[in-house]
Amino acid sequence: MHIQANQLTYTYMKGTPFEKNALTKVDLSLSSGQFTSIIGHTGSGKSTLVQHLNGLLKPTEGTITIGDWIIRPETKQKNLYSLREHVGMVFQFPEHQLFNETILQDVAYGPINFGKTKQEAEDIAKECLHKVGIPETLYDQSPFDISGGQMRRVAIAGVLALDPTLLILDEPTAGLDPHGQETIMHLFYEWFQETDERSIVLVTHQMEDAARYSDQILVMDRGQVVDQGSPEHIFSKGTELRKLGLSVPQSVQLLQAVRSECGGDMEIDAFTLEETVNRLLVYLKKRGVNDHV
């Protein structure tokens, strides 16, 4: 779904002594079918921005358009209900939303809410649980009896079960071990590639994830979008990013370090292990140290 924000402003607790501006006049346009990452320092407004994408928050000023829905400050909550059927959202620590007696019932909660019959919902739930790698033997267990990593996967299945076209991920891998992080991100990426119209908006502190999966990256600072572009474009600006309290992916750091230590010419925009090794090999070859490689 196409996303367009015009002068989007959001103020928390407006009209109280605790009033706080989280977004200030954000203009934004994201075309459909893209993987977008939002990076930014803590408190830069990333989470506030993505909560507008499924109408959990309404702008204090300005408008935001998601597909056919236009959200204005005066838009009624009940008109946003149908939007949530198409926009799924995985919060930080999504396992906190589990509540049902069995894992299967918990995943089926969303589809039932949006009018599926119990049987249909359970079929969808089974399919999604299979996708996230939860074995069938666990379906009838309580979601509170399984491990933390499994809980997170069940919670994610609960969101995928809505079959959204736009998926919002708010730091979905926080608190997981490196292997778990990779599996979960891989899972999302596979889901994303299944059809053409699916889009993902990912909020992350992991520059590696942002670089690896995104078609484009938004950089946020103090409630504003300060830069937008391809991973190559964004991560070529190491100094600017560091000023905002951000960094570049480790692969870029490594190549940068090699280049500045040994001189010579090398493209540093490699984001996967394979690419990085290839760049290094080409670089070494060029400098004539190919005897040992």
């Binding site: 928390y12 002594p17 009940k78 999504p94 909660y109």
Partner: protein, 268 residues
């Protein structure tokens, strides 16, 4: 979440004011005196005095009026209902309005207004206490005031600790609730559709995760406290000391005068 933005119960508003600087013990004492004696007399002079006291305290506290009024909306409904109840239930004095089944007596009108005014003053004073005192100060004050009860083996320190933990976790719980509400709304939860029963049932997906989280947090907190060697109040010294100043004596004195006044007007 919009519905939590206006909760002012237990909320502390940092300001630089005389009331903020008062000793929490003094504030607690003053409130106690006020609550007890506000209901002693219904003489107009006493009520006028109470209004002046509350009004002055509110103005001195520098709490933004708009913020306060917004937070009082829910309580205003409560006061209004109490007023109506007294209006219809009291059958004294002369009849003011008589319209089919509805009869309003002058006694009801007076009684209702009295109760509403007193309730309003009471709640205003009580919320001023939490609005101008940090939870830590408040519990410190309570612990000190309860100290004499130690002789009869009331676990004052533990009570104070329980209270400070409860107060400390109000904002955390509100934040948590708002997050879970959002997560379930994203999964299609609808809290404003259907019969009362459906609406109540729609709260289950919020309450269960909230309880689960709270128990987990309680356990984490207990472990963290034990890990840092917490062993109860015995022999524990205070890092922050309360200081009683002239202003505090003055405030308590003023409220004692108010208390005596109510007694005088009641029995003389």
């Amino acid at each position: 979440m919009i519905m939590f933005d206006n909760v002012i119960i237990g909320q502390y508003v940092p300001r630089d004011s005389v009331i903020h600087k008062m000793d929490p013990r003094a504030k607690l004492l003053v409130l106690l005196i006020f609550i007890v004696f506000l209901f002693t007399s219904r003489h107009p002079v006493v009520l006028a005095f109470a209004v002046v006291l509350t009004g002055t305290a509110f103005l001195l506290s520098k709490i933004p009026v708009r913020y306060f009024i917004k937070g009082m909306r829910f309580i205003a409904i409560l006061i209004f209902f109490t007023f109506l109840l007294h209006l219809f239930m009291t059958r004294e004095g002369t009849i003011v309005v008589e319209w089919s089944w509805l009869t309003i007596y002058s006694g009801g009108l007076i009684e209702g207004s009295f109760i509403a005014l007193r309730l309003f003053l009471l709640i205003l004073m009580a919320s001023l206490l939490t609005l101008t005192t940090t939870p830590i100060d408040l519990t410190d004050g309570m612990e000190m005031l309860m100290k004499p009860l130690k002789i009869v083996r009331v676990p004052t320190h533990e009570l104070a600790l329980m209270m400070s933990i409860a107060l400390r976790f109000i904002p955390t719980l509100l934040g948590e609730t708002s997050k879970i509400v959002k997560a379930q709304m994203a999964r299609g939860a609808n809290f404003s559709k259907g019969s009362l029963w459906t609406r109540l049932k729609s709260l289950i997906p919020i309450l269960i995760p909230l309880f689960v989280q709270s128990f987990k947090r309680a356990e984490d907190l207990a472990i963290a406290m034990e890990a840092r060697g917490y062993g109860g109040g015995e022999g524990r010294t205070k890092f922050r000391l309360l200081s009683w100043r002239k202003m505090d004596s003055l405030a308590v004195g003023l409220f004692i005068v108010f208390a005596m006044l109510t007694v005088v007007f009641r029995f003389v």
